[in-house]
């Protein structure tokens, strides 16, 4: 299947609000998820991402706002009538049922005849690479297999929207990487509309078409992973997504001048902020250059960390400004004097 399935829908959230006591759980969230799109909700714990997901699923009632599927208001529909599939953080597999019965449960609830139900459950299990597991006990599965059963159970009902709550958080790092790949491939192949919650930026970037960043119940920015990384709209997003130094600078027209220790360099700027701004210097937009290069900032390497494909260097520039430089060069030592220069333009600027 390359086309989105007939069942995949367009999900719209309009001013969705949920209050817990004084602090807003979710604050007037408006968001659109297109047919067959994979959207990640990302944020620190307490940012309201899980509450948002539970409202979409119908487990929590919003205090205000609407939830629409293909334009139809489903805000007050109970979970069982929404035709959504959900993968829970701890999978919530029924421990007293076999793998096959777990997957077939949603079909049973829809009154699908037994033979068809088993056949479809088996097909769903095959979709996640577990064709032989139907008769096994849920407890006998590994964490990764349980995650895939949970996915098959959510997909077999041909959901209009698939919801995933931290689907990878219970897996160990190695398994997590391979499961992430599988999850991405499966979701892309089936073309479902999916919203998944995660606190892990790598997961979000690896799987999602677009990422929505939440902080304390408020939507900060939504965009493709590249947009969020290259063009954060605010300081909060710049700090939450990726690493990098936020350096005071001055925006003039299309250029931004960054002055460090008396050396000023002007580069192309991108972003809405003007005047006094912060320039977002990502580790991959900086590089070591010969110390006599023009516009290079002198500094000292304070820390060196080998990551495999790159070496991450912490460099202290004039005015005790710390920046991180990712370089393929391995020969730079700690305490070595270096010169650093912006090599990739444009540089994002944000309001301070």
């Amino acid at each position: 299947m390359t086309e989105p399935p007939r069942t995949a829908g367009t999900l719209s959230l309009e001013g969705l609000t949920r209050r817990f006591g004084n602090n807003a759980g979710v604050n007037a969230l408006t968001l659109e998820v297109g047919r067959g799109e994979l959207l990640a909700l990302i944020g620190a714990s307490g940012s309201g991402k899980t509450t948002t997901l539970r409202m979409i699923a119908g487990y929590e009632r919003p205090d205000a706002g609407r939830i629409l599927i293909d334009g139809a208001d489903i805000t007050s529909l109970p979970p069982r009538k929404r035709d959504f599939g959900m993968v829970f953080q701890h999978y919530a597999l029924f421990p007293h049922m076999s793998v096959g019965n777990n997957v077939a449960f949603g079909l049973e609830a829809r009154g699908v005849a037994k033979a068809e139900r088993l056949e479809r459950a088996n097909r769903a299990l095959a979709n996640v690479g577990l064709e032989a597991a139907a008769d096994r006990a849920v407890q006998s599965l590994s964490g990764g297999e349980q995650q895939r059963v949970a996915l098959a159970r959510a997909l077999v009902i041909e959901p209009r929207v698939l919801l995933l709550d931290e689907p990878l958080s219970n897996l160990d790092p190695t398994l997590r990487r391979s499961t992430r790949e599988e999850l991405r491939l499966t979701l892309r192949r089936l073309g479902v509309t999916a919203v998944f919650v995660t606190h892990d930026q790598e997961d979000a970037f690896a799987i999602a078409d677009r990422v929505a960043v939440l902080q304390r119940g408020t939507l900060l920015q939504v965009g493709t992973p590249e947009e969020l990384y290259d063009l954060p709209a605010s300081r909060a997003v710049a700090e939450f997504i990726g690493t990098g130094a936020l350096v005071p600078a001055r925006r003039q027209g299309a250029e931004v001048s960054i002055a460090i220790g008396g050396v000023t360099r002007s580069v192309r700027a991108e972003g809405a902020a003007t005047g006094e701004v912060l320039a977002v210097l990502r580790p991959d937009s900086l590089a070591f250059v010969p110390s006599d290069s023009a516009d290079a900032w002198p500094g000292v390497v304070t820390e060196r960390r080998f990551t495999g494909s790159l070496v991450a260097y912490h460099v202290r520039l004039a005015g005790d400004l710390d920046v991180e430089v990712h370089s393929t060069r391995r020969d730079v030592k700690e305490s070595e004097r270096v010169a650093v220069r912006v090599v990739r333009e444009p540089v994002a600027v944000i309001a301070p």
């Binding site: 979970p79 069982r80 599939g85 029924f94 007293h96 449960f105 159970r153």
Partner: protein, 555 residues
């Protein structure tokens, strides 16, 4: 392989063997004596049991009573557990607070209170009689249904507690998953919630079955000529038909042990790994009608639950022999309590009960702490035996335990390991000790299992001696369980009736026997005053336990 080669240390064996020997002697030996006694005349006793109409009736009634006790307890306990864990309504807190109250009523006191309330001349009966304008009481509190009635009142608590615990552990995301997959509330209940609660429900059903099987107080007081096995044992013993008593005891005990084995089997199945992201939210009852019904229901249930306690307190202020045909006792006085100040003799049963339960509980704490330590943290030959030994007294009805002790410790005969205790003070503390073993041991085990086993190694690695490790690490870890278990054992011992009625002498008569004697003399006020004192003792024990729980404990 030798024990050393298996890594079983000498110290562990030196600790384990005396405990095993003590339990074999006090728990197993008396039961074997009973079984052996049942075959003392070949199969004659068993044949007599088989043809005796009284015994057939008793066996049949025992099972009928137990069956209906289970059914009624489930019908009350399961809905109440759902109501209190899943819904929020006016009166919920009050109802939660009193839901386990029946378990706090000493068995004999409960029976006496039921007579005051629902007996032929009881308050509720007379109110009903007057309201309906009947000449006679609308019902009599005798026979199978009377027994089932009081069993339902006291034993639903087991079902309630088991199911409530099951619901609190329940991972509510399973129900959310079912709803998300399109299941209706009813389908989710039938296919997900109830199947997962089945182990809790069946476990509590077996527990009720075991308790009802051995129940003695209710059939003894208001059986109305109806026989059950437990009362039949005492009757045979009093008639001098010891052989028959042994057979009856064997039948009763083996049935109970079978139920215990069933329970163990179910407990092992109760291991669905529930990952706990259970957001236990109570549904707030919104509709006006449902709220009104809920509030009325809560008031009615609370009243029914509190009435027996209230009645005992009320009657304790009634003048003896003044209450005849009135709905409520007509005259009130403090005399029933004042007498205690005047007559030192009246204190004897209270002193006896307190002293004997202190001795028994003290012994329980020492023996059960060591047993729990051995079971949870040590490896040794005989561990499974030890586990079995400490659970046996739980299953075997008190009447059977008492008869075993009576037939074992009735003479001095060192060759057969017998010591004369029957007729002395010590036979009752021994009986209480045996009955307290499973309560204290399982609670102490529970606490020790929560301790990280590497703590012991860590302490030893830091240079602590065995003794210091015990005192500073193991004992504090076991303490919450020891305190809770000791509390339960002391409460059971201070109001013990069933074993006492078989084994007591006039000199060591406990409170329960005094209540029975006063009740039989129709001195209702005095009987109730003793009952109130017993309830006060139970509250005191609970208070002391709470206080010692509050001290900081290692968790």
């Amino acid at each position: 392989m030798s024990d050393r080669a298996r890594g079983y240390s000498l110290g562990t064996r030196l600790l384990a063997w005396p405990i095993l020997a003590l339990l074999l002697w006090t728990v197993v030996y008396p039961n074997i004596a009973v079984i052996a006694g049942s075959f003392s005349g070949g199969l004659d006793n068993w044949r007599a049991f088989g043809v005796n109409p009284a015994d057939r009736e008793a066996t049949w009634s025992t099972f009928v009573v137990s069956f209906w006790s289970v059914v009624t307890s489930v019908l009350i306990g399961v809905p109440l557990a759902f109501l209190l864990t899943r819904f929020e309504f006016r009166g919920r807190r009050l109802l939660s607070a009193v839901a386990t109250l029946p378990a706090a009523l000493p068995p004999l006191v409960g029976v006496v209170a039921f007579l005051f309330l629902y007996g032929e001349s009881g308050v509720v009966t007379r109110v009903a009689q007057r309201a309906l304008g009947l000449e006679h009481a609308p019902w009599t509190l005798t026979g199978i249904w009377a027994i089932v009635f009081i069993h339902a009142y006291t034993m639903y608590v087991y079902v309630f507690l088991f199911v409530q615990a099951g619901l609190e552990r329940f991972d509510t995301s399973l129900e959310e998953a079912a709803a998300g997959l399109g299941a209706s509330k009813w389908t989710a209940l039938r296919r997900v919630t109830l199947p997962l609660l089945t182990p809790s429900i069946v476990g509590s059903m077996l527990l009720v079955f075991m308790s009802a099987l051995g129940s003695f107080s209710a059939p003894y007081i208001f059986g109305g000529g109806m026989r059950v096995l437990s009362t039949q044992i005492l009757a045979s013993k009093l008639n001098g038909a010891m052989g028959l008593a042994y057979v009856e005891t064997t039948v009763l005990a083996l049935t109970a042990v079978a139920a215990l084995l069933g329970l163990r089997w179910f407990e092992r199945r109760r291991t669905y790994a529930m990952s706990t992201k259970g957001r236990a939210t109570r549904t707030v009852v919104r509709s006006r009608a449902a709220r009104a019904i809920g509030a009325v229901l809560a008031v009615v249930i609370v009243t029914v639950l509190v009435l027996p306690h209230a009645m005992v307190i009320l009657v304790s202020f009634a003048r003896d022999a003044a209450w005849t045909t009135q709905v409520l006792p007509p005259e009130y006085t403090l005399d029933n309590f004042r007498q205690l100040g005047r007559d030192a003799q009246l204190w004897v049963p209270i002193k006896n009960s307190v002293l004997m339960s202190l001795i028994a509980t003290g012994a329980n704490v020492v023996v059960c702490f060591v047993a729990a330590y051995l079971i949870v943290l040590r490896k040794f030959r005989g561990k499974r035996l030890l586990e079995l030994l400490i659970s046996i007294p739980w299953a075997i009805p008190a009447t059977a335990i008492a008869l075993g002790l009576a037939s074992t410790f009735d003479r001095n005969d060192p060759a057969t390991l017998r010591v004369l205790l029957v007729g002395t003070f010590w036979i009752l503390p021994l009986a209480y000790f045996v009955r307290g073993i499973p309560l204290v041991a399982s609670a102490a085990e529970g606490s020790l299992k929560q301790m990280d086993p590497s703590l012991e190694d860590a302490a030893r690695g830091l240079g602590a001696s065995w003794w210091m490790t015990m005192r500073r690490v193991i004992l504090p870890a076991a303490r919450p369980g020891l305190v809770a278990g000791a509390m339960l054992a002391a409460i059971a011992a201070v109001g013990e009736f069933v074993a006492s009625v078989v084994l007591y002498t006039h000199a060591n008569r406990p409170i329960s026997m005094e209540i029975l004697a006063q009740f039989r003399n129709l001195a209702f006020g005095t009987a109730a005053a003793y009952s109130v004192l017993l309830i006060v003792l139970v509250l005191l024990i609970t208070g002391v336990a709470r206080l010692s729980e509050r001290r900081p404990a290692v968790s």
